[in-house]
Symmetry: C2
């Protein structure tokens, strides 16, 4: 924990009530209905209210989806709970459902513990937030790590014996499972908001303006429960990411405290890792550009992370997506070995500035043989795409 | 070598003449005087001329500065020459003169070969291209690697026995030396240009416009022999770096070939490494800002390269320099462990876009525990500096 309730009180005179649940919201009278740890309910008045209820993992209503041995990975106790299960049970086979960020990270850690992992993904390739060609690269690399990857399969339900999960049933096969991890994403915890009859946005997230105010005077919101403006798509999206939650929380706090702060939005940057492979994305994929009605051109190149005479050099694949007429950068995707992933930040920064792809070529990026080639891979990609535009 | 003369001919019908020296330039008659390998001279006519004579290492006119065992590190044969010397002689003590990029890189490699290194730097701290506080960090880290660092000392001359270097004499002491490496920077190889009576710029480099044309019609130049426009300082500088040479060369080639290309300039990004320490800079330092008459504010913070529960996390120190009134980012400096150095690219990209420091806070940079903290260190620095502005 970053800070305990006691530290909040000692350092900032903030009263933190844990084990309390807010059961209802009465905006006319500016009151919340609080359910205390012993179950008693009482009303608490507010002048200003901040809603930061976050998100909850998606758990489909499959048969046995709440059996023992089935875990989501969202809150702090989820980690120790899984570790305890692995210690207390003879776990040889794990099934991970969902081949995106959480799914890959859990897979990596199960592999490190010597557990055989089957990874099920409904989409044709792992990492559905990448384009299919980059996703296919992740699928191949993940298989090469010894993971049984089943793409294009959907889970029908779970099997259990005596309340303990024993298998996962897909539309194609039954996979025995000593433990099942769900990595199917999250949804906003906006039950309170919906119950009060207040308007919800994309995927039932709470809409806020760039000061993090909701549509209700005196009520603010930030984090995984809110919508976020996507600066490249130029519309709101649901982007439940820690970086965005932190920025929104800071801006809400400054405004509540009487300052003037704004959170313009995000460009959809994310990063993860499986084994030696770093995977990152920012902006719009080719598929997302098409869906948003933006005509795009894309190029994918493979280069080295550093000069070839270093033993620890490795491949880095960069995909760039550019708007056809304006040459505006729309997004980028990277899959590569150590030192690849954080290069996405150059593209994320360029997206914030609405840079054209020509500008990428001019960037004075750091070069020395242990760090990069003279032309950084993102610039090699920019050079390639200019030939096509 | 990237390509041999034969490959140039086979692939592109480019005739490469090695061992030929251009001894004179006659712009009135569009001819160069060529000295052939056998010493004979002849004239060669040109329609268009590209000058890419590069730079040469600075070798002061000290006594014995050309003795055997004294090396510069500039051309391809310099590396093998040093390696041969180390093999053929009982080298126990090396003296490296100059504590910047080349000096540190050579020191790292000598240490790896078990040679005791004394490193002499005239300035008060190593890495004179950083501000003194960041340079002091590099000095401390380098000392901790076992290097004898002598800062604020200037070399008076070298001693030699039978034509072989034996010691380096500074204004404070005499250091025995079995080998001496000069890392004192480079200067433009503009002898030809000067001899033709043509105008020279900063540090005797050749001035060019953003199409890489010189002041002489039909003559182009690029690389270490030319000046470069510094986009933050908004004036020309001498920046002999491979990245800039490559960009300028590409633009010159495109223009000579009939296309229209421009090289707007650079922001002075550079990176190096010694032991586990990555060192990078971009834009203007605090000292350079003052020298350029730009009132600035600066802040230095230390954070972790990734979340604290990773064993391979380490410190990263970031210094930001910002223009006082406009809040325009002026530059950044980074010293830290693995994964630190290339973060300078976010700042370099922001400099190209003339970003204000407020924008750094909004950047949607990639976060996952193995890669970064939720607030990237460059954003932690941006937050700090905003408190001061």
């Amino acid at each position: 924990m970053a800070r305990t309730p006691d530290e909040f009180w000692q350092r900032q005179r903030i009263r933190v009530l844990t084990g309390h649940r807010v059961a209802g919201l009465d905006i006319s009278n500016r009151r919340v209905r609080v359910s205390e740890p012993d179950g008693r309910e009482r009303d608490e008045a507010y002048d200003l209210l901040m809603v930061a209820t976050g998100s909850r993992p998606i758990v489909p209503s499959w048969e046995n989806s709440r059996a023992a041995g089935v875990f989501s990975v969202k809150t702090l106790p989820d980690g120790p709970a899984i570790v305890s299960w692995l210690k207390d049970h003879p776990v040889r086979e794990a099934v991970v459902i969902g081949g995106s960020y959480i799914g890959l990270e859990v897979t990596e850690n199960l592999l490190a513990r010597g557990v055989a992992v089957s990874l099920i993904e409904q989409a044709p390739e792992l990492m559905g937030t990448l384009d299919a060609d980059m996703g296919a690269l992740v699928t191949r690399k993940t298989r090469a790590l010894g993971v049984m990857v089943y793409t294009g399969e959907s889970v029908q339900g779970l099997e259990a014996h005596d309340g303990v999960v024993s298998a996962v049933v897909t539309d194609r096969r039954t996979l025995p499972a000593d433990v099942v991890i769900l990595g199917m994403g999250v949804e906003p915890e906006s039950t309170l908001w919906a119950a009060a009859g207040l308007p919800l946005g994309v995927r039932r997230a709470i809409p806020v303006n760039d000061r993090m105010e909701t549509s209700v005077p005196g009520i603010w919101a930030a984090g995984d429960v809110t919508e976020t403006r996507h600066l490249v798509a130029r519309r709101t999206q649901y982007l439940p990411l820690a970086t965005i939650a932190n920025k929104g929380g800071r801006v809400a706090g400054l405004n509540i405290g009487g300052q003037e702060a704004h959170f313009p939005g995000a460009v959809g940057t994310a990063i993860t890792r499986i084994g030696p492979w770093e995977i990152a994305r920012t902006g719009l994929t080719e598929r997302e550009s098409t869906a948003a009605g933006i005509p795009s051109e894309a190029v994918t190149i493979t280069a080295n992370t550093k000069l070839g005479y270093f033993q620890d050099t490795g491949p880095i694949t960069v995909k760039l997506v550019v708007e056809k007429t304006s040459h505006r950068l729309l997004g980028g995707q990277i899959v590569g070995t150590a030192g690849s992933g954080k290069r996405i930040d150059v593209l994320a920064t360029a997206l914030h500035m609405e840079a054209r792809v020509e500008t990428l070529l001019d960037l004075d990026l750091a070069y020395a043989p242990p760090f990069s080639d003279v032309w950084d891979p993102v610039q090699v990609a920019a050079r390639q795409i200019l030939h096509r535009l």
